[in-house]
Symmetry: D2
């Protein structure tokens, strides 16, 4: 696949307008901070936010999106169901999806998982240590054995997800919890990665290893194919030796 | 878990009223034929159909349902979204679900899978040979190496599902196709089994090994727990700090 | 399957003879303590130890063993390769296997996993909190959200295992580590469960929830079939329409 | 990872010397035919065979091998256990492994799987249709919906393998069988791919889509890391206790 590839970072962009602490950490919005560290010669990045028309996710934007990154929290319910369905269809066709932190409760993520996506949580400045349990995975490259985030919101098990196809990171929290923090799923022709860190009141997206994981993830999630959905009536491929008339409905019976 | 347990067989019950061939094979409806071979001293079975109020799936019926069996085909679109959501919630809490044949396209199954659930198909009296690839699985007990269905609709790959947690059966068709015909998924606290055979114009649910698989499946899908969804704010569990000297060997004991 | 079923608890039984602390906690040996809490009207339990002839695992003992429980540590190298091969064959035929703590490095477990089974470790009286991440699993019944072991040896990631078929428990340790503590694998027709806790210098096998997990596990691991290995030459099952003479070797070519 | 990368194709190279039919199809040996279609500007390929010293798999050859391709059949028992152990260690450290056809019974593959790796088989010129059930997988690129091999040995289920981490191809055979023909496993830091086709008396390795799959597979199996085995005693990582007030929002920053 030729470079550059195209990433769209979607941000809810509400906390930044209401909470001065968040605005201080992410002056241009969380989506712009994320976009900034993803941009490079190989990656073209645009952003989209909730309050734009169609949440910034028009068909034409999605046509040019190889990987969608999603951060949302307080306004999941404001995301239009039609846009959710549109983005879900794209993922199943092949578009990559990287879901961050409280995006575990985004309609899009829940629709793709089919489960509750619930978890435990606590805002108490826990230290988080993110352990790398699959060091050969492309998303874990450059991460080492583990990394620490000095203060974060805690997310704890049980996490209401289907068993991940690949479990890459498990987090440890000071307060006594664990969490499956880095998980992949193959859904349709698309690749999905969920990554736990990133509460809006902490500077987590300025953390170099958090950035490295997200950068690895968008590269890993790039599509290799785009296949529209179909449920075709198919002619027999084999010259049937089996006589389709042989089993009349009256002739077949098990009683 | 004490017996008997409770199974609800849901049938669309439309083909039987419109197509005399189907009515001839299943005079009381497909759901009643399925219910009949499931009934026994350990299993209490009720049925429910599309055209009953709330499709027969009231909260009180679901309260008493350990495992729901689902057959639908021509009228998936007529199933009310609220009832789908209700049944999905029950599965995630712990209720078992057995989805049959064209139920691959039921709203309930698609919502739990998160994928297209599309497939290839052909009505041409193909012979189907169902291979048992996981002979130690509870659902495969008594099935042997394989069994044959002399005439069935063909379903072919690619099947638009998440990779099954357990792949039990793979079908071979005369016309040259293969299909993952028996698949399990763990979703939330519930167990889901999809089983391919059962086109309405064939007497497939009178086939002894098809019956045996479905009987095994409802037994396997019985819930061990029922846990309502929650996303709790949690106090820190750890009384900090940990004193490595605090637990002398003499001080620790469970007797 | 009719009860009672038969469990053999295998213990290395060396630490108990050399270390008075271990002998004090497990006066009859660790294997006898484990056997004692497993015994019941439905379960007949025998024990076997390293220094018996054939390590107590004769063909006739294995003939009567539905589930083998394994604890070993300091003397993995003294286990005879032939006995390892014998027990491995039984697991692949259908016998259940429950591997405890330092049994992660047993020849039998490593041969069934195919991987290094390495891990991090530390003897420092860490508190361990064992989180239940799959509450609907039969092995997790009665365990609740988590349980604590006040002092244990630490085992940390990365754990050199194939991705478990089911991940049931994840441990948190005071010192900052996490570990996949309860894992299942389906291998051949047998079921395998690895359970982390149980360092010999702690009274871990007197802990009520540790006992409950092991009791659940032997019940879960009971065989449904016993199928000897075979690699059969098979006659065609289908009346071949395909003419086996049609493709003479000279006639088939891709260049 | 910089190109070119290094592939070693290992061939048993016995059939070619004994059976004129095989020698006619593969005049330089099967390993040389496979090596020939893999060679390119990005891939340096060497070959190694059973009757060379150390079977051609010296430590120095393995030092320079990113991906090992393995074909063996009649002489699995002649492969030295020490060389098997050496190659297995390399896979677990990160080296890729592509196992072809009757290599399902190679000591190396069986040691990595931990299972019997048995299957059904028949030499009867069956037609094989290889279905692509995971079209977005890198190994399936360029393959399309399915491809046909006009005459091959049949391999049938049950195949005695651990459930594959990814199931990419399922084969249909004229005689009525199915087989999981393209399977991946992640083991340690290495990637393993098994690919069914390739009986020595057919020109299967001249088939363009078979070649494409193997070429895709060696690219997919390239290592991202090489990590030697270790089981370290670890100091506690956490400086205890954690002060929930210690990380004020102004104090935490990564820029």
């Amino acid at each position: 696949m030729s470079n550059p590839f195209h990433v769209t970072v979607w941000g809810e962009f509400r906390h930044e307008k209401k909470n001065p602490r968040v605005a201080e950490i992410y002056p241009q919005g969380m989506h712009e901070s994320i976009a900034a560290f993803l941009r490079g010669p190989d990656i073209e990045v645009r952003t989209a936010t909730l309050d734009e028309p169609e949440h910034g996710l028009t068909e034409s934007v999605l046509d040019k999106t190889d990987v969608l990154v999603w951060w949302g929290h307080m306004a999941h319910g404001d995301v239009n169901d039609e846009i959710v369905e549109r983005a879900k269809r794209r993922v199943l066709e092949g578009m990559g999806l990287v879901v961050l932190h409280s995006g575990h409760y985004a309609k899009l993520f829940k629709a793709l998982m089919g489960t509750t996506c619930s978890l435990k949580w606590r805002e108490a400045n826990d230290k988080e240590r993110v352990w790398n349990v699959m060091p050969a995975h492309p998303i874990a490259q450059g991460i080492g054995e583990y990394f620490e985030i000095p203060a974060e919101e805690m997310y704890g098990e049980p996490f209401g997800i289907p068993a991940p196809d690949e479990l890459i990171f498990i987090s440890w929290f000071t307060g006594g919890e664990v969490f499956r923090s880095g998980c992949t799923w193959y859904r349709g022709n698309g690749r999905i990665f969920y990554f736990r860190p990133g509460h809006e009141t902490y500077p987590t997206y300025h953390h170099p290893q958090v950035q490295r994981v997200i950068l690895n993830a968008v590269d890993w999630a790039r599509p290799s194919v785009r296949i529209p959905d179909a449920c075709p009536n198919s002619a027999p491929l084999e010259a049937l030796p089996h006589d389709p008339e042989a089993h009349s409905h009256s002739a077949v019976g098990y009683k």
